[in-house]
């Protein structure tokens, strides 16, 4: 949906943040870095070869924000504007590194690939569950909020492809909307959803193996 900016109304409080930044309010700037810094690293990492280069790109992007805030016209959200600066720099840098863009080759592969959410052998001939998933609500209390469970999810995410990892991180950890993700990463709606689907399914599988260990 590219036309959304025409009827754009800034989120509440944005004008105040922009005014504070223009006035040189350091707390406003620090808060903005806390809010977006991690996601910027994530997004930059998609385009360039290493974490170190991603950090340089993020730093450059922030310098772009600092020097450009005086010209920010408020026709998109501040967040969209910041991530556009970031994506542009990251893309330029990635091209200079001779890196192929991460999503360009994905459209066919990941969307139609044979990756399944659940192993085929869990289903019978007519696609019915052979052995159904267990009821996690019946697990001992606190199991799902335990640190160890959360770290199993983290490990599963670390093992995903870069594209899947980025999408699930932005959606489920950073709480971005699907549209914000599509815009920042230049993804189609279908691709964004397929990446998220595969990512969540793999994390579920990892949690299932972990939570059901020793219960059989």
């Amino acid at each position: 949906m590219d036309g959304t900016e025409e009827t754009y109304a800034p989120p509440p409080g944005q004008a105040e943040v922009v005014a504070a930044l223009r006035a040189g309010d350091e707390r406003a700037f620090a808060a903005l870095m806390d809010e977006h810094g991690a996601a910027m690293l994530r997004v930059a990492r998609m385009y360039v070869s290493s974490r170190a280069v991603a950090e340089e790109v993020v730093q450059e992007a922030w310098l772009g924000v600092i020097s450009g805030i005086g010209r920010f016209e408020g026709r998109s959200s501040l967040k969209t504007w910041i991530f556009r600066i970031l994506s542009n720099r990251a893309k330029t840098r990635g091209e200079r590194e001779g890196r192929t863009l991460p999503f360009s080759s994905l459209e066919g592969v990941d969307a139609n690939g044979e990756e399944r959410a659940v192993d085929a052998d869990r289903f019978g001939n007519e696609g019915q569950w052979r052995s159904g998933p267990s009821r996690w609500s019946e697990l001992p209390e606190n199991r799902l909020v335990a640190k160890e469970t959360i770290s199993v999810a983290q490990t599963a995410i670390d093992g995903l492809s870069e594209a899947q990892r980025t999408v699930i991180t932005l959606r489920d950890i950073e709480g971005w909307s699907p549209e914000e993700i599509r815009n920042a990463l230049g993804l189609s709606e279908t691709n964004q959803r397929v990446l998220l689907h595969r990512a969540r399914a793999k994390v579920r599988q990892a949690l299932e193996s972990y939570l059901e260990e020793g219960r059989l």
Binding site: R22, G24, E26, F29, A30, M33, G37, A38, A39, M40, L41, R42, E55, V58, Q59, W62, L63, I66, S67, G70, A117, V118, A120, F123, G124, E126, G127, Q128, W129, R130, S131, G132, P133, S134, R135, W136, S137, L144, V145, T149, I150, A153, Q154, I157, I168, D172, I173, E174, G175, P178, E189, R193, L196, H197, R200, A201, V203, R204, L207, E208
Partner: protein, 93 residues
Amino acid sequence: MTTIWHRIRGRRGDEPGLSCEQLVELVTSYLEDSLSKSERRRFESHIGACSACTDYLDQLRETIAVVGKIEPDDLSGEMKGELLSAFRGWPRD
């Protein structure tokens, strides 16, 4: 566990029902609210009658909740410090 419900017909009878195996591939679209009306109807009519798929959907919701508890990454203190001094030193009118 074998369920007789894996081929439930859609409510209007003219739509083929989803199998469990098909349903699990639609869970994200369902949770992201991007199914068409008729897909959504088929999805919900299956879920309404299939406890295994209901458990699967619950697992996905729990998965999302667990992932949501992961602490976001952060910029290094060093980078933040450098950027703050760049911000401080930027000429303003």
